[in-house]
Symmetry: C2
């Protein structure tokens, strides 16, 4: 555990959802003025905008568009919904290309009306179907395992071993894994799973926040780094030993933080990043 | 998946917490009048009572005391708290003996102030310390893996593989595993883990309820069987293939159901047990 604290912001990326009250222009302006170097763009922030121009605006602000959030949600018992999901993922790939990012995070999906095994098969088939488009656009797809508390409707991929299995089965340099500490910190096989990503050269993204005790909302009560019990520095050491040296992405859904002044929150993110990430 | 539906209540057990508004006398009277054959007693219901007499009351009502809930909560960064936990588990063993049940369910505990690995070591050491007492009292201890959303404060044992590892490391016929579908339904290694319990003859308990979509409370929004997405019949088939033929225990924490008329709820439990368990 000799991973050093960050002393500059060259690897700090923030997800637009983290500062949800800001539109993408305000987020870009404020992140940039604080010296943040990366932004992960949630698709809702692009509504009604020229995506190519928005990408240029980000770059003009000194921000790298680290990834687009999110594709996925492939499974459904209903064939037409599965078809719509494929179409939507193709749109996401196009949006990523227009924006100028080479990465999409996949929240793979699940349908409580069918078995997890069926959902997983549909996830595999869905990703396989859009992979040629992703490859043509130069956009990689990162399978993000989600916490088991989201296995009913959000993702049937709930451990890093499952994400590795899925990514490897797709046999493409455009299919990999996103590690989010919130979803995986409890996983006794996390270190081994991250090592496996490293061996396969498919660790595409690293997301951070914290797990608060108590957590009062199943979706929107994530903590700022340092507010909870996730061994962040330790997990970052595993990620870096696996060869990852990309952006460290702050992704916090929090009704509490969204109610605060976002400029103050951004300052706290920067401080927490240096002290705890 | 040829496991047949239950047509009688000879294997139905209900946890007193499921009908929390009832005290243990009301629970016993009502369960018994419906033909339920087993009861799992939560310790809070024994407060202020002669436990031996309460055990006799249950037997006189035609109820088997299937288990006592709950022991555990071994880990703490604080040595005195760990000591107190040992004492409390010894009290629980004595209460189980007095009540006349041969099983205690362990919610093993976790302390967010320390690593999960430290908590797991303290769980092992805590169980090992009270095992001789359990053995002397003829009381078995069932390690219940808890859902990963409880890894911060309730249990550092979150998969069936971890529960099996822990139970086997204790090398005693008095240490085994409790399978609760709510905690484990998402686990891709659940079937294999249940088989492993069967090989080791240490599957001590089987708890059921359902996972609702959406789940609005992290603790008290469990569903009645059939209200959610857990493949109950399938998991029961695995449990029975592993040689388990004991009570099927209904354990539901639900602010919604606790607000309803409990006699009506009990009727729904019986119906749901026959239709979905």
């Amino acid at each position: 555990m000799t991973t050093a604290a960050f002393t500059d912001l060259s690897r700090l990326c923030i997800h637009t959802i983290t500062t949800k009250p800001w539109n993408i222009e305000a987020a870009a302006r404020n992140y940039s003025s604080k010296g943040v170097k990366g932004i992960t763009v949630w698709r809702d922030t692009l509504a009604g905008r020229d995506i190519r121009k928005t990408g240029n605006m980000l770059r003009d602000s000194g921000l790298k568009a680290v990834s687009l959030c999110r594709g996925g949600f492939f499974p459904s018992k209903d064939r037409e919904r599965r078809r719509n999901a494929i179409d939507d993922n193709r749109r996401a790939i196009n949006e990523a290309f227009e924006l100028g990012t080479d990465l999409i995070v996949l929240v793979c999906g699940a349908d409580p009306a069918q078995s997890l095994e069926d959902s997983r098969r549909q996830i595999h088939d869905g990703i396989a179907e859009v992979l040629p488009d992703a490859c043509a656009a130069g956009v990689r797809l990162a399978i993000e395992p989600l916490h088991p508390m989201y296995a009913d409707t959000r993702s049937a991929i709930n451990t890093i071993a499952q994400a590795n299995d899925m990514a490897e089965s797709l046999k493409s340099p455009f299919a990999g894994v996103a590690v989010d500490v919130y979803h995986l910190w409890w996983d006794p096989l996390l270190e081994a799973g991250i090592e496996r990503c490293g061996r396969n050269d498919n660790l595409f993204a690293f997301h951070i926040c914290d797990w608060k005790s108590p957590t009062v909302d199943i979706l929107n009560d994530r903590g700022l780094m340092g507010e909870g019990c996730i061994p962040l520095r330790k997990i970052r050491s595993w990620v870096e030993e696996a060869g990852f040296n990309g952006f460290v992405e702050v992704e916090i859904f929090s009704d509490i933080w969204w109610k605060q002044d976002q400029t103050m929150f951004l300052e706290k993110i920067v401080t927490a990043y240096k002290e705890h990430a």
